[in-house]
């Protein structure tokens, strides 16, 4: 018995030593590697793959720019991709893979709010900095910083701002009071409508019909005919960019194009979307974190470079990921190390000049950023101003 036990003990011991050797050699490889290991979680496939590919290109372009001038503190940025497929389950396993197998120090991700919310505890447990660049659900930073998750930061404006700004513009400038809702059935789409409802009484407005579509939905005819007969003056849509051309086409079919405009956010300003259904997109009102037509020197230089590099104009996600990689590089530079704790405190105190203005973080690790309001006029997005608002965190 005792012999057997010690044999077992020997086996376990050997296994442990083996494991330790493996993990320490992996650790050695990582520090000798001399790069900044940056994980990028984004939907590279699935219904949101468009966002993922733009995000990746934006981030890679930034890494290339930084690496071509010698990297940060002599370290090159090495981007390791993780495919979330836009679903929380895949997002969490991609994050785990990046942390456990690729040994990343920093993660940028995801685009979808549902995925980011699921990634937060994973990053927190591992003590890996999660810098979000493109999710807009307010809950993400309600729960960050003094709210709980110390390792989550967000460099993107939230839906609460957006809902208020859009509603205000629609009510004051257009005189709308009756709305139909057609949003995507995700944390993003539903939360945006929740915040819209919060501000409806302020503008004496009401919602007449409320529908949510599944990602990948292609048949909107039934719901659009219902909206046509409901008497709504505008459709509030917080949706996916890829569904917008489909909705636009079917709006033309059921005869509401040009009569009931889309308001909210689902990339109404993308040239190919407008081309797919020009009549339906005319008069669409959108609040975006950024758009290619934004007038600033840095922004214009980015659009030009991105278009030259990928032969396609960048979208919002390309921009925010490009900007966020630069932001992280600046934080690493100011921390003068890739030590996670030091980079985190550098990020908290950063004053970074982005293409849309100065970026600083509040005590919920939420960047203070403006939203740009635009309206589609004669097939082109016309910018109606930049708005920002302080967030009321729930006590």
């Amino acid at each position: 018995m005792t012999i057997e036990l010690s044999r077992r003990g020997f086996c376990i011991g050997t296994a442990l030593i083996g494991l330790q050797t493996v993990s320490s050699s992996a650790f050695a490889a990582r520090s000798e590697d001399g790069t900044v290991r940056l994980g990028l979680v984004a939907p590279m496939s699935g219904p949101n793959a468009r966002y993922g590919s733009f995000s990746m290109r934006g981030a890679q372009m930034a890494a290339k720019e930084i690496n071509s001038v010698g990297g940060v503190g002599g370290r090159k940025i090495n981007i390791l991709p993780g495919d979330s497929q836009g679903t929380p389950v895949e997002g969490v396993s991609a994050t785990r893979r990046l942390i456990d197998q690729d040994h990343v120090d920093f993660i940028i991700g995801d685009v979808s709010s549902s995925v980011t919310l699921a990634m937060q505890p994973v990053a927190e447990d591992a003590g890996v900095l999660l810098l979000n660049a493109a999710s807009s659900n307010p809950k993400i930073t309600y729960k960050a910083g003094v709210g709980g998750f110390k390792w989550t930061y967000r460099n993107y404006p939230t839906d609460e701002n957006r809902a208020l700004i859009v509603l205000q513009y629609a009510a004051e400038k257009k005189g709308f009071t009756k709305y139909a809702v057609l949003s995507v059935d995700t944390d993003y789409g539903r939360a945006a409508i929740e915040f819209t409802k919060k501000y409806l009484p302020r503008f004496k407005s009401q919602i007449l019909t409320e529908d949510y579509y599944k990602e990948g939905e292609v048949d909107f005819r039934s719901v659009l005919s219902k909206i046509r007969d409901s008497g709504a003056q505008a459709i509030i849509m917080y949706g996916n960019a890829d569904s917008t051309p489909i909705v636009g086409r079917q709006m033309m079919e059921v005869g509401i194009a040009g009569k009931i405009p889309l308001i909210g956010n689902a990339e109404f300003n993308t040239a190919s979307t407008i081309k797919a259904a020009p009549k339906a997109l005319e008069g669409a009102i959108e609040a975006a974190a950024w758009l290619p037509a934004y007038e600033s020197e840095k922004s214009k230089a980015f659009v030009e470079k991105f278009t030259a590099e990928y032969r396609e104009a960048p979208n919002n996600h390309a921009y925010v990921h490009w900007e966020t990689v630069h932001l992280l590089a600046r934080a690493i530079e100011e921390a003068q190390s890739i030590d996670r704790e030091k980079v985190r405190s550098a990020l908290s105190n950063i004053h970074y000049t982005s293409a849309v203005g100065e970026v600083t973080f509040d005590d919920h690790n939420q960047a203070r950023l403006p939203m740009i309001l635009l309206e589609i006029e004669n097939g082109k997005p016309a910018i109606k101003g930049a708005y920002s608002a302080e967030i009321d965190y729930p006590k």
Binding site: S45, A49, D211, Y212, Y213, M252, E253, V254
Partner: protein, 290 residues
């Protein structure tokens, strides 16, 4: 009110026609191979990609693109049929599930590798709205309904009168007897599969103009819409599939209007559960296949 209901029924018939063309191929493949083809949606996707490729890279007109999409898919089906599907004949059910799921993964990810995972814009087709009896529809949708009818009448005639059709029915009834009387079962299995894949591709190309977006993962959704239809229709039953597709299309359309768009996808599986509880052989007896 009444007009709205009629309009929604018409909407339902349009989506039902699309489901029907895809599902009929899947149900025929089941009849002959006794395997649910989980890769069926991928042939729908391949057809759409073929047509998109022809339009985007070679500037070909839409009707030519339709032919290219269907023919390309049929050629891929010849390869998959020879190497995979023929081997399923007489194999246990698990083999069919694994083989078709595997084929689905390979086809889908090859397309994502080659063309990227992002949505592509499909610019062909006839999307101008026309008004018929007070309903406004895109011309393409009328085309879909007409082609759907032609496909079903054609299939009915084929399985009733042609030699190949009769052989397909025979194989679906009893494989051993077919082998005894000299019907080449593997040959019939291959052709049924190619026909089924071709029909899925046709459906994909026809709907692409109204669905606008083309992407690698688009087939999955179709496979999962089709599955309840072929079970409801009675696996292997062509006429049953047609009716089940129409029922699902119309039910979905009414649910989207009167209950909410978010409940639309539950219709198929909710109906499926009811059918499995009360009529496990499908709404229409599966005794007489085809």
């Amino acid at each position: 009110m009444f007009f709205t209901v009629i309009e929604q029924v018409v909407n339902g018939i349009v989506s039902g026609s699309v489901y029907a063309i895809v599902a009929v191929g899947m149900t025929m493949i089941f009849g002959v191979l006794r395997a649910i083809n989980f890769a069926h949606g991928e042939y729908y996707m391949l057809g759409t990609f073929g047509a998109w490729f022809a339009i985007e890279y070679f500037d070909l007109p839409y009707p030519v693109a339709v032919v290219i999409g269907v023919v390309t898919t049929a050629l891929i089906a010849v390869i998959v049929g020879n190497f995979v599907m023929q081997r399923i004949v007489g194999a246990p059910a698990e083999a069919g599930v694994l083989a078709t799921l595997g084929a689905a993964l390979i086809l889908q990810n090859t397309i994502i590798l080659v063309f990227g995972g992002s949505y592509k814009f499909f610019s062909g087709g006839y999307i101008e709205p026309v008004t018929l009896f007070g309903f406004t529809l895109a011309e393409q949708r009328i085309l879909i309904i007409i082609v759907g009818m032609i496909v079903f009448v054609g299939l009915e005639l084929m399985v009733t009168y042609s030699r190949m059709g009769k052989a397909m029915r025979a194989v679906s009834q009893n494989i051993e007897c077919c082998a005894v009387v000299g019907i080449d079962v593997r040959h019939i299995a291959l052709w049924t599969f190619i026909l089924g894949a071709g029909l899925a591709a046709l459906s994909g190309v026809l709907t692409a103009p109204v669905n606008v977006s083309v992407y690698g993962g688009m087939g999955e959704l179709i496979t999962f819409k089709t599955l309840p239809i072929i079970i409801m229709g009675g696996l292997g039953n062509v006429r049953g599939t047609f009716v089940a597709a129409m029922i699902l299309g119309i039910a979905e359309s009414l649910v989207a209007t009167y209950i909410g768009l978010q409940f639309r996808d539950t219709v198929g599986f909710a109906t499926l559960m009811l059918v499995l509880m009360w009529r496990p052989h499908g709404l229409f007896s599966a005794q007489a296949r085809f």
